[in-house]
Subunit: 452 residues, 2 copies
């Protein structure tokens, strides 16, 4: 099997479309079968729904299952919704249980019930349907091989030989006691290196890292990344081993969480599907609420300006510096929030570091403010502004940057203290807050210095 | 060994500090040795340099090596720089070669040369020092077990038993031909399941996914994530297998790349070290260049306002809407860029999708602009603005949002086409560009409608 560059993917897509146009189903299947499932999913994604519905059930159920696992969740659910139940049952029976449970959860309840009633693995799947998609329980697969403490290495290797897992991940095996409780972990390497008669209890690490079914998926991902784990065991309230989370699922979680954070920092609610697959109306809906909220907040700038109307009328030149001052404040604030929010997300700044982080940011703000004030003073004079007004501009930028940096640090740190997702303090939210307050600072300083 | 919550980490840290204050080195070591290397590194990170220098060489070289591998690169280099060469040599000899090479690269050249001259594994390390840190060659470890095509399963398992790798990752093994060229991959599971006499050539997948030494680390990470690989083979120009990249290194790369993108999107150059470890002066330096560049660009707003000075003098109320209009435009633009840039980073939008993405975003812009124009019209009237000016505000917001969304899509897509990192189009850069151009749109429309 070959892995594809974007160019090769295009060529295959053209071949596939040509075969489908000639109604050459065998030819189309042959093209698909040369590829690996992630690329098969990418190709299928580019086809018309009618062609997808023709191709998928024509493949072996195991092949179709692999493709569905690689497809975007919503796309997979849409495709499956259009297939006959019998075909769906055959395919889902071949999927990894965690992926199958996710897919069932995305189907219409009526179809999901129909399919579940006919599945071979239904008993294994039902408990998975109870867990939230974004918890350890929703991320785990219940398909694992648990060894007993008195099992010998030779018997363990035999058990692995006899076991036919759907998944290929087998780097660590877990050891349970008579009640099914997690009590150790053995790496595949230890199994192979140890003498055949060695018992699990002698070679296992008796204190594996674990999570419970309700643990948030982001916490699972950070734990696996922190301890460089390939498999993470999941236990229930009785400490019984009920599933395992594999690293490939976690890589997807980390990527999805970073995407959400970036979209939120840009001032929009995260999209649930890839950008081009999200209808225009949905994207607009994800943005309009923030845009409106910020618009209302930004209206405050109008009130501030009306409040200082007489000053503006007296010195029109005051208005020339409005966008420059509040824009620079917004930029400084946005630099700060994005840095602090990411530091919080990756654990570089923890709750107890809040004060240290604020102090750090305040000093950065002082430094930047001092430099920018000198430059702003020079720039204003170059424009032929009166020395008084130039001085007011310089002091305003000094105060606004210090204010923006303090606010940019305080708001996300405060959000975390109140257990709110700090990404609500997006770049646009920061600029908007700094705009109204920045204007107030500017006019107050101008009034004092120019003596309006 | 135990994995720690933040609270437990704090308790251990207090115990550790207490032991060190009493000069109880054995006690301090005992506390450290209860923990896993990632937590040991976290604890050590919190101590004074003098204590770090006492503790690290007092541990077994293999333990110290594990800790250094988990520490932040620059912190590890600083610590090692303060240790005697003999101790450094003992520790580095126990590190994984890819980590050792990274560390040597971060030391002063004189110290690096001294250490390298005394290392046992110097021959293995030297080639690694030639590769860029952020390429496959810099990420890989040269420590792998390559099997030959005619090796039997039984012999392969014996070879694994005889091999004592420093790393624990052993999920896939690669098969090479007589010239050392990569020709297949065998999973550990296949090795265990296959009959002892089966040959590698019969059970291997003859077409593994691979990268060459010069491949960018982000591309390696995306490939491993796309194909759910735990190990990725690295080959040189002659297709000889020269190293392997493991998934735990890639998880770190994905996280670091997302951090860089987020900091850039906030309008700052990325920090090389964790936030609180970066001196205030360095953070300020990473931000001042963008802040200045945006300041100069934002100065254009002043020129636009001067150009329309007579209109401003005639209708002071015009100025009340300035921050509202350009702020909303900046927000809409920032929503767009962050979404498009992330979609580009994760491959949801590819180069060839540029036109589709632009068309998608243009329609989103039209929709948002229409809604916001109606609301802005109502808001302006409520403020007691003249109907003419309210109409001018409504049309301006319509034009500015469509303009901001188009620009927010075009700039990152254009950057990619020109092979520039699209994150240069940060949120602040977008707002700044929209500010000056938005003002021009506003005054032009106002002049037409109000007839100034």
């Amino acid at each position: 099997m070959v892995h594809l560059t974007a160019l090769m993917l295009d060529t295959r897509l053209q071949e596939l479309r040509a075969a489908l146009e000639k109604n050459d189903l065998a030819g189309a299947l042959a093209i698909l079968q040369m590829l690996q499932p992630p690329d098969q999913a990418d190709l299928l994604d580019e086809l018309e729904p009618a062609d997808q519905i023709t191709l998928l059930p024509a493949l072996q159920p195991a092949e179709s299952a692999d493709i569905l696992e690689e497809m975007d969740d919503d796309r997979a659910a849409e495709l499956v919704a259009a297939l006959p139940t019998a075909a769906v049952v055959r395919i889902i029976d071949e999927m990894e249980p965690d992926e199958a449970a996710d897919l069932l959860g995305d189907l219409e309840p009526a179809q999901a019930r129909q399919v579940l009633a006919k599945l071979e693995d239904a008993k294994e799947l039902r408990p998975l349907l109870l867990h939230a998609d974004d918890s350890a329980g929703g991320l785990m697969t219940p398909e694992f091989l648990a060894l007993r403490r008195r099992t010998s290495t030779a018997d363990a290797l035999d058990a692995i030989r006899a076991w036919q897992p759907k998944s290929d991940t087998l780097s660590d095996l877990f050891v349970i006691d008579g009640d099914g409780r997690l009590c150790g972990v053995v790496s595949m390497r230890q199994l192979i290196i140890a003498p055949p008669e060695a018992l699990m209890i002698d070679i296992m690490d008796p204190d594996p890292v674990w999570v419970s079914v309700g643990t948030d998926q982001e916490a699972c991902a950070q734990l696996m990344s922190h301890y460089s784990l390939l498999v993470l065991p999941v236990v229930n309230a009785a400490h019984e081993l009920v599933g395992v989370i594999t690293i490939d699922d976690v890589v997807d979680v980390l990527e999805a969480e970073a995407t959400e954070d970036i979209q939120r920092l840009g001032g929009a609610e995260p999209l649930k599907r890839p950008y081009l697959d999200t209808p225009v109306l949905n994207i607009a809906r994800k943005r309009i609420s923030w845009l409106l909220l910020l618009f209302v907040t930004e209206s405050l700038t109008g009130s501030v300006l009306r409040f200082f109307e007489s000053e503006l009328q007296a010195v029109v030149a005051l208005s020339f510096f409005i966008p420059l001052l509040i824009g620079t404040g917004g930029n400084a604030g946005s630099q700060t929030t994005s840095t602090i929010i990411r530091a919080l997300a990756v654990g570089d700044v923890r709750k107890r570091d809040a004060l240290a982080a604020f102090w750090h940011e305040l000093r950065v703000g002082l430094l930047l403010a001092a430099v920018m004030a000198v430059i702003a003073y020079g720039r204003a004079l170059l424009w032929g502004t009166t020395p008084d007004l130039a001085l007011a501009v310089a002091f305003s930028i000094l105060a606004i940057i210090i204010w923006a940096n303090s606010l940019g640090a305080l708001l996300p740190l405060g959000a975390v203290a109140l257990k709110i997702d700090p990404t609500v303090v997006s770049g646009p939210a920061m600029s908007t807050l700094v705009d109204a307050t920045g204007l107030f600072i500017y006019f107050t300083i101008a009034r004092l210095i120019i003596g309006l």
